[in-house]
């Protein structure tokens, strides 16, 4: 196929003149009926065969082409009386007010008109908007009461939305309006911003209505054989019907009143034909009561032609299904159901090298995996393998140059996506692993970048069709290339939940394995590495520590020191002697001190993972992540890990202390209130006395809650040691696997202050929140302080306050998502084609420079140390360790 190069020089918008409408129309539509009793379209009806073809097999009566080739042809309706085009009503109003009711000239002296003309020309020359100048002219002309050209007194014109004009209590009919617009001279029209060649003002009042081709409004045949017409056809039927009645009445010489009523009705139908959402006009409805989707509705908004069909399109070679987790896949992989693998295809060109291999796919055909769905001849003709009867005959014909659309197989590169696609990690390239069942499977480490979970989430998959795209996806979009986030320069892909608690437990100092256990664990995790010397021998048995086994996964020359998530941030760091084992030291690839937790390889936080990606590359990082997650998952499954309500059990002593603290807080609040009443409260700068009181109370209460939390944590920890049994909830919180200490506090000790709009709860009755309190009571409990813990349960009043706070949270999230979604849309529309050029400048498509250096420093954040260009401390540390070793 030869491509004829064409360049769009420009686009010109104009109005359709009545002559133009008649010229482009093939048929004058006169009857409101569409089909006769036999189901054939009526000539001169809305489905006239000359308007184009929609039924396959038939030829168009106008151009003689078949379905796909006939573009469709316009028809027309000759309106019995002119009507205003709603879309231009506002402009017509402005013009009517600016021109003389008698002579039709602009209500300004010639020299002023000339001045505006000059200004317009200048604006056009330098490419500035002409609109403000024209607006200026309308404003100036409106104020004139007497025509400077013919001396006619001007009457006040009122515009009644959407299509009525009233001049001094006298209604202007569209005929009057059109007459006035006709009187405008070409030169005056130009000053009002018209290009008279393509848009005369009077064309804004319609005398002929174009009827779009049937291809624009195809009717659909329902299963029952019944025909269902498009909304536009329905609307056009209405217009023709009224138009006919109007015409008959005019011819019969009916009273003026009846004619005007019908005219008004015609105006209504034409208005809603253009736009069925005009303010002040009741929308035209379908028989079922559903508002009709007319011209403007087809284009407008999210479901309109622009956003839904032109900016975004449905594509082939894609699939969508529910996702589920599979820790045995690599982060680079995606599990694809066989059912989908048989449907999605990859085009492969037959060469002498692959011909035998490819023939196997063809032989399997579309239903046996791995097969092929289509073959394409060198001339581009496609043969469906489902329809080929004699495969052997076809196989004979296959030779280099043919194209075969074979099924997806293991190792194919595909794109995987989860909406909303908020950042580039929302679409990543994965390698296919064809698996049984019907869900897409993915490694848990890629949940954070997609923001996916498995409560019913669905994801999309796209099979790449071209070699260049495949190469590009592999190099740039593969999951392992996306481990580092360009947002904060740390890993966004990493361990979550059980990976973290598993690693934490695995690397505890007292964890030990026999030789058999160690081998079993490594084998189950698919790690093929020799064990080091055992850490110690007891009763003749060799034991290995968790840290030793973990070290097998680390690069051999890795040296790294950092403080783990469990670090208590003591005033004096004991470093390697840390009693919590929070000081991580890796020397020559051996984990010597410290436990692994969120800070080691967790998503968003992993220091160790960060080091590995940045120093050893993405391949090493992928391997590390795959192995480490498998290892710790196997460990934690074998070991067992579970949590329950008794993880929040506190001894009586702790409960008493918590109650005491809350009593104390209550007393302090009463004290503050007393001080306020006696006017001895010290006012905070920039606050009123009342605000000061509120702030102090809030402060006291939040301190109280924190203290109860600290006590709870203290006792939970004590109990752990005493009973030699770990507290799973606490482990998850401190290692960063899931939940926080605040969550624990609320469950075990005290829920704390409930807030609405950042303040203690104050709404309800006048002077009090609930009738259970005295008017003016501002004590802790009367304003939404919840003393109870979730475990103990809330009192009815506390529950009510808690619900108020909780509801606000829900509403906030709902509002925030929609608002940030819109903000994102606008940002992306504004920034979409900015690009960093090779000289580091940021330019748009016209080459206009936006930034002279990307981000002012030209840095790629994902190659920085958490946004910091150089971290001298880390570099020194790294080399110092190396030399010492």
């Amino acid at each position: 196929m030869r491509i004829i190069p064409k360049k769009v020089e420009g686009i010109k918008f104009g109005l359709l003149s009545p002559e133009q409408i008649r010229k482009m129309s093939e048929v004058k539509i006169v009857t409101a009926d569409t089909y006769d009793e036999d189901g054939y379209p009526i000539e001169g009806g809305l489905m006239d065969p000359r308007l184009g073809v929609v039924d396959p097999g038939l030829r168009c009566k106008t151009c003689g082409s078949r379905v796909g080739d006939c573009p469709g042809h316009f028809g027309r309706i000759e309106l019995a009386r002119p009507v205003i085009h709603v879309g231009y009503a506002k402009l017509i109003n402005k013009i009517l007010r600016s021109i003389c009711r008698a002579c039709g000239r602009i209500l300004l002296p010639d020299d002023k008109i000339e001045a505006f003309r000059q200004e317009l020309r200048k604006a056009k020359r330098i490419g500035k908007s002409e609109e403000p100048i024209v607006e200026e002219l309308f404003k100036a002309a409106r104020a004139v009461k007497k025509c400077p050209h013919c001396g006619e007194e001007q009457l006040d014109i009122k515009f009644e939305k959407p299509t009525t004009f009233i001049e001094d209590k006298q209604r202007l009919s569209p005929i009057d309006v059109r007459e006035r617009l006709e009187k405008i001279t070409d030169s005056d029209a130009e000053v009002m911003g018209f290009d008279v060649e393509v848009a005369r003002p009077e064309w804004m009042v319609l005398t002929v209505l174009p009827v779009p081709p049937v291809t624009v409004r195809p009717s659909i045949t329902l299963e029952s054989g019944e025909r269902s017409e498009d909304d536009l056809t329905h609307k056009l039927v209405d217009i023709i019907r009224i138009n006919q009645r109007l015409e008959e009445n005019i011819e019969a010489g009916a009273p003026q009143l009846i004619i005007e009523d019908l005219w008004e009705l015609l105006q209504y139908h034409v208005t809603t034909y253009f736009n069925n959402e005009v303010a002040g006009v009741p929308p035209a409805r379908h028989r079922s009561g559903r508002p009709l989707k007319t011209l403007a509705q087809r284009l407008k908004g999210k479901e309109g032609r622009f956003r839904s069909n032109l900016s975004g399109k449905r594509v082939n070679y894609s699939a969508r299904t529910v996702i589920s987790p599979d820790p045995n896949l690599s982060i680079n992989e995606v599990g694809v159901p066989e059912l989908i693998a048989r449907e999605l295809t990859i085009p492969v060109i037959v060469t002498p090298m692959n011909i035998e291999h490819i023939k196997k796919f063809i032989r399997n055909g579309p239903n046996k995996y791995p097969g092929a769905n289509y073959v394409e001849r060198p001339d581009g003709a496609r043969l469906s393998l489902a329809r080929v009867k004699n495969i052997d005959e076809l196989l004979e014909k296959i030779e280099p140059g043919w194209k075969v659309h074979r099924h997806l197989i293991d190792g194919d590169i595909v794109l995987f996506n989860r909406q909303p696609s908020l950042h580039r990690m929302s679409i990543m390239a994965h390698e296919v692993r064809v698996l049984p069942y019907k869900t897409f499977r993915l490694n848990l480490c890629v949940c954070p970048p997609y923001n996916a979970d498995f409560d019913g989430d669905e994801m999309n998959l796209h099979a790449i069709q071209g070699q260049e795209a495949r190469a590009e996806a592999r190099v740039l979009m593969r999951v392992q290339e996306q481990i580092l986030s360009p947002r904060f320069g740390g890993p966004i892909i990493g361990g979550i939940h059980d990976h973290i608690s598993g690693a934490y437990l695995f690397t505890q100092p007292e964890v030990r394995f026999t030789r058999e256990q160690a081998f079993h664990l490594l084998y189950a995790s698919g790690i093929n590495k020799p064990l080091p010397e055992p850490a110690f021998v007891e009763d003749g048995k060799e034991y290995y520590t968790g840290k030793q086994i973990f070290s097998l996964l680390l690069p051999e020359d890795l040296n790294l020191t950092y403080k783990a998530k469990v670090c208590k941030k003591c005033e004096v760091c004991k470093e390697e002697e840390c009693e919590y084992d929070a000081y991580v030291v890796i020397r020559n690839g051996k984990l010597e001190h410290g436990v692994m937790d969120e800070k080691s390889f967790g998503a968003f936080a992993g220091e160790l993972l960060d080091r590995i990606v940045k120093d050893y590359g993405t391949d090493a990082a992928r391997e590390f992540l795959d192995n480490v997650t498998k290892l710790v998952i196997n460990f934690i499954t074998w070991r067992g890990f579970s949590t329950g309500i008794d993880d929040e059990d506190l001894p009586e002593e702790a409960k008493e202390r918590i109650a005491e603290i809350l009593e104390e807080a209550d007393r302090k609040v009463q004290e503050l209130i007393r001080a306020y009443n006696e006017n001895i409260l010290e006012q905070l700068p920039g606050r009123t006395l009342e605000e000061t009181l509120e702030m102090r109370i809030m402060q006291v209460l939040s301190e109280a809650r924190d203290k109860t939390g600290a006590i709870a944590n203290e006792y939970l920890e004590k109990e752990e040691k005493r009973r030699k049994h770990e507290n799973s909830a606490r482990i998850m919180a401190i290692s960063g696997a899931r939940g926080s200490l605040l969550n624990l506090t609320q469950m075990a000790a005290c829920v704390g202050q409930q807030a609405v709009r950042g303040e203690r709860i104050k709404r309800g009755y006048s002077g009090r929140t609930l009738p259970h309190f005295k008017v003016g009571d501002i004590s802790a409990s009367a304003k939404g302080f919840v003393r109870s813990s979730y475990k103990r349960g809330l009192s009815p009043l506390e529950f009510f306050f808690h619900n108020m706070g909780g509801r606000e949270g829900l509403v906030d999230t709902a509002v925030r998502t929609s608002q940030s979604g819109y903000m994102q849309r606008r940002l992306i529309n504004a920034l979409q084609d900015l690009k960093v050029e090779y000289d580091n400048t940021v330019r748009d498509t016209r080459g206009v420079i936006v930034e002279f250096r990307h981000g002012e420093d030209g840095a790629d954040p994902s190659r920085t140390d958490w946004g910091q260009m150089v971290n001298v401390k880390k570099i020194v540390q790294r080399y110092a360790r190396k030399e010492a070793a």
Binding site: V848, R853, G855, E856, D857
Partner: protein
Amino acid sequence: MRRVDISKHELVPKHEVLSEEEAKKLLEELNISRGQLPKILKNDPMVQKIKAKVGDIIKITRKSKTAGESVYYRVVVNE
């Protein structure tokens, strides 16, 4: 009324007019025409202060959180 020298304000970065040669060199280096540079209005207070004319290129040196100091260029335009 007291006249304030706005260029002394800490939030106003340094503005300088590029000489003919400097301007030519800059445009050549970036391989662009004047129209592709960011603009600044001729009645911008700093433009008037340094008496730049329409078509002049102004070099703006700012303090930057990420880069320490960053350079920006703008061409003076009429409106």
